[in-house]
Symmetry: C2
Subunit: 347 residues, 2 copies
DNA sequence: ATGAAAGCGCTAACAC
DNA sequence: GTGTTAGCGCTTTCAT
């Protein structure tokens, strides 16, 4: 006989009830901590014992069907292989699982359309709520879901398409700290390679760059900024070549660590040394960024904490309805390593 | 009114049936491709139209309750933040989602006990099958699940506790290639820092090391091998210090890339240069291993393909019962980079 | 070709 | 304190 999916038939609540000599309803009450008080202590014991003996596990589908709650939460990430996202997922998962929720991860592969499909698929699975780490500034899928009342919290990236609880980190302060560091070292010709402007992180960091550069009195020439098409090593390299073809920065502020890695590659390719000829600053502080050559100076973002906070927000929503306070911005920290130094000629 | 979990009430099959002017049973048949032939074409059209109009999404819990199939698969990984595992998950997810399955990821945090809990939790969720990437050689939880007939496929790590379909990569050939490379360069005093022996990868690679070393005529002194307590940078560093205290290897073969990174750190700490003084070889070829200083020579393991193959095996099991062929071993490839060179004195 | 009805395993409203 | 009953949304016999 072929193994039935799920394996050996599981004991059902009725089995437990029969073995304990009570009715299924009573068994249900005995097993549920919330309703356990309505049942005699002796019965509780008997039922518990029977359940243990039969290795009873409540069927969450049946329960969900009845209670209209699945205790499942969907988490949508653009790319699980991007070291940025696993910590977010783990931070969220820890909080959620502690509250009895199971996490379903969907990977959109950085594809806008697949985000919509993922949301739809997860909703079809009757998840109780959604954590979205893949939002773009203009995000139809998120807007639709929010309009339809789906409990949904954004993490890492914001959107302008909907008023929805969001947990991000402080891009402005991150950029400010990075720039302050570079300016203090004596840099004035600072190149900027922001991420795509259709993502909130790309735009906000680019804005912050302009703002703080003019405040700090650095050069703000248009040819010192080249937008990257994606947050990737390759796109970073492409942008770095363009930048170095049209300007002579003594330092480059990269939109994120991947872009910074691309910059490092291009510098090597052109015979430029880092940090002697050009300083480089990344963003995020992914794993192993301290092992690069030179170790990357970068802005550390508390990804796990962001995931955890977003999960908390979602749990609160699930428990008490939509939260009022809508945006949580976590502080970041500049980690100075070997990729930044005083400029050659002293600026 | 508080938003109901899951958002706006979803249209139900009955709603669709009513709108199409048919019975729910008929609507069900019309919507299911398999039973669609039993229904008049006109009805199919009407029902489909009604479904579209109401944005009908079948409730997978209700369906699952009836059919005893959830189209969910659990994937258990030891640590999602370890860059090794996301590719495995993605490879699996791609195959599974194409077949209509949803993936639930559980992270055991490298904790044996939590593996058992994860399996239990996933089974309580009535997943149709399990992909386990966290197995240890002696794995009670896996043994139990298999005995109970749970469709379960191992990936990346084997177990000796149960006869269960497994997809791994060719550890012996990987070690052989690495050793051949080192021996050809002229190394004879080759240190080995295997991963923990309670994991199949740790043991198999250690065995392969001994086997091929004696075949290739290298030194096989006990003080040249130090087992790492875990697959981590820290454990690698600890083991490397021990190794360098008790022997003078001209090359070190690390149990995996994290361990190799630890070795690189310790070499730097002791003023030894890589590869001039000591060559280092890693294992896995995780992201960014080509960006280390020096770029790491390592054995590339096809993680995504392993995940995909494991998923295939599981799907076949789900469709046709337990597969006969039980172990699939994928080929690996040595990637030579800058961390290996001829030894100082010529060996 | 379609309607009727039973029931998956569970919970909750209602008896007693 | 416990049994009874109904029903969550769906599939699937069984009639017709």
């Amino acid at each position: 006989m072929a193994a039935r999916p799920g394996g050996t038939r599981h004991a059902t609540l009725k089995d437990v009830a029969e073995r304990a000599g009570v009715h299924a309803g009573t068994a249900s009450r005995a097993l549920n901590p919330a309703t356990q008080g309505l049942v005699s202590e002796a019965t509780v014991r008997a039922v518990r014992e029977a359940a243990k003996a039969l290795d009873y596990r409540p069927n969450s589908m049946a329960r969900g069907l009845k209670t209209n709650k699945t205790f499942m939460v969907g988490v949508i990430v653009p790319d699980l292989s991007n070291p940025l996202f696993p910590p977010i997922v783990r931070g969220a998962e820890e909080v959620l699982s502690r509250a009895g929720y199971t996490t379903i991860i969907a990977d959109t592969d950085n594809d806008r359309e697949r985000e919509g499909e993922s949301i739809a698929a997860l909703r079809a699975r009757q998840v109780d709520g959604l954590l979205v780490a893949s939002a773009s500034r203009d995000d139809e899928a998120v807007r639709t879901a929010v309009e339809q009342g789906v409990p949904l919290v954004l993490v890492n990236r914001r959107t302008e398409s909907a008023n929805v609880p969001t947990v991000t980190s402080d891009d402005r302060s991150g950029i400010e700290k990075a720039l302050e560091h570079l300016v203090r070292l004596g840099h004035t010709a600072i190149g900027h390679l922001p991420g795509p402007a259709h993502l909130s992180t790309g735009l906000e960091r680019a804005r912050a760059f302009r703002h703080h550069m003019s405040e700090l009195g650095g050069t703000l020439a248009p040819e010192l900024t080249v937008e990257c098409s994606t947050y990737s090593v390759d796109a970073g390299a492409v942008a770095a070549r363009t930048l170095l073809d049209q300007a002579e920065p003594t330092a480059i502020l990269a939109g994120n660590d991947q872009i910074a890695v691309g910059v490092l590659d291009v510098l090597r390719e052109r015979g430029l040394r880092c940090p002697e000829d050009v300083s480089v600053v990344g963003y995020n502080d992914m794993t192993f960024m301290d092992k690069l050559s030179p170790p990357l100076t970068t802005v550390r973002v508390p990804h796990a904490a962001m995931g955890a906070e977003a999960a908390q927000l979602l749990l609160r929503w699930l428990a008490e309805g939509p939260p009022a306070a809508n945006v949580l911005t976590l502080p970041v920290e500049l980690v100075v390593r070997g990729s930044t130094a005083r400029p050659r000629a002293g600026g």
